[in-house]
Symmetry: C2
Subunit: 294 residues, 2 copies
């Protein structure tokens, strides 16, 4: 039987971090259904007094991310009084980083949502993903992309790009459509990481059928013919192999997992480029010495 | 001076949770620039051996989310040997929930990214946001929306909707354009939470000017006239007041913060509806008794 529990999530900022943490933890408990109570932008004792009324009525653990120590302490005391457990989600990590760096954190709420460079990069990445979805290239060029995804129809290119954008990565996607040639310019691009998406033909047929039904289309075309779809997928794979692009099979894989693989590939690519740059610099620095010895 | 540190982020899943946690923590340390090394989908000791090579070369704290206790223990031992601190990010929360529930977690990685109902709801929400952006209504109806955002041009309606979609919320947005009437159907909708976005006219003029420059447009129109923009904003505010819709001023506020406020409003709305339902049920249950007493 499913057990319901109240979870009170108290954040001095947007609650995004808490949400991720709670989702990851709750997934590990089967048959437990959390009823989440969100308390975002909590920055005053008055707000804590207020939310504690609901906690008293619907008791359950209080998980919080409050960077102000005094406020965190106040909440913890109130939870003790109410007899509910409270967990300072970021505290162990902050403590550890603080020890390692020999610096104390600033205790100012909402700093990660400052309208800083990183923030605008993220919004920019979203705008980029929207304008470079499904092979459209309006305004800005594909050369700016961090990642270019390719795949036949229904390989989840769009949500993967949006998810990457949310992580600040500029991602464009280009559909592989039978008999429509790819834009030639992409083969000259140096910056982007190209990734080919593939999926089992049977699953594709299923997804495409659902899609068309959803749109109210009933006509059977090559788009749904198992033999044609198999051919489409094989051709896409041949292209990826020919170009030496990494391939991700998205069959029964979530968009987040696909995006995670792409982020790992990107991290490795950047480490490699960094290494190359350092090697080149080192080579240049030792070059004059070598010349001297000749 | 900015201090660079290596941060190794080890996840058995997508690393999304870790990313959020690290961003929230690092924001509290000024003048520290983390060089993030991502290690996603780590599920075997072999992978840990591998990544420890990079940790040895570029030492720094290892933050991890590994739900398998044995694997977590292995990583912690390796970090001890290498002389770098390691932090089990989810451990205190898992422990606390486990104690509270009297159940042990499942220790299976990646459970929150299962292709379950919630996952498809999130993908569906993204699809919904894309198809209900900027007043388009193709295919599905506005009645399905959890949230409908309204606002004049450049009040960050689109990224806010995408951010909400990422949290599984179906969000549509409708632009308020001078002299273009709103679709009348929206005034009959019962389900969605309506939110009016507003912004200082001066900031709007700035954003719109940047936007047009970006698009290569130079023509001056009403769109940029301070007096006209002021009028536009005032009219939008009048509409919100008339309809009794909550208003969020997005001036100098990040999209995440706007989304957080909307999520809080939605949480309150749902709690209220829940309460009403219970009250009604209670009333119905006590009704026969009251009749008896009459």
């Amino acid at each position: 039987m499913t057990k319901e529990i109240n979870l009170h999530l108290v954040s001095d900022s947007t609650g995004g971090t808490l949400n991720g943490v709670v989702k990851a933890c709750m997934a590990q408990f089967s048959d437990v259904m959390p009823i989440e109570h969100l308390w975002n932008l909590v920055r005053e004792e008055r707000q804590i007094d207020n939310l504690m009324k609901t906690v008293a009525e619907q008791p359950g653990p209080v998980l919080f991310t409050l960077v102000d120590d005094a406020l965190a302490h106040y909440l913890q005391e109130k939870c003790k009084e109410a007899g509910v457990p409270s967990v300072a989600v970021l505290q162990p990590i902050m403590q550890n980083l603080s020890d390692y760096l020999g610096i104390k954190g600033k205790s100012l709420p909402g700093l990660q949502h400052m309208l800083d460079e990183e923030y605008f990069a993220r919004i920019d990445a979203m705008d980029y993903a929207l304008h470079h979805d499904d092979g459209q290239r309006t305004g800005r060029s594909l050369a700016e992309a961090d990642v270019i995804l390719l795949g036949v129809s229904r390989t989840s290119k769009t949500p993967t790009c949006l998810y990457l954008a949310n992580r600040g990565i500029k991602a464009a996607n280009i559909p592989l459509v039978p008999d429509i040639p790819l834009p030639q310019e992409i083969f000259t691009l140096k910056k982007p990481l190209f990734v080919g998406l593939t999926e089992s033909p049977a699953r594709l047929v299923e997804l495409r059928t659902n899609r068309l039904e959803h749109l109210g289309e009933t006509q059977k075309t090559d788009y749904l013919q198992p033999e044609k779809v198999k051919e489409e997928v094989a051709k896409a794979r041949q292209l990826y192999t020919r170009m030496g692009w990494p391939v991700i099979d998205v069959t029964r894989r979530s968009v987040e997992e696909t995006a995670a693989e792409i982020l790992t590939l990107l991290s490795r690519k950047r480490e490699l480029e960094q290494q190359k740059k350092q090697d080149k610099k080192q080579q240049e620095e030792t070059q004059p010495l070598q010349n001297l010895h000749q």
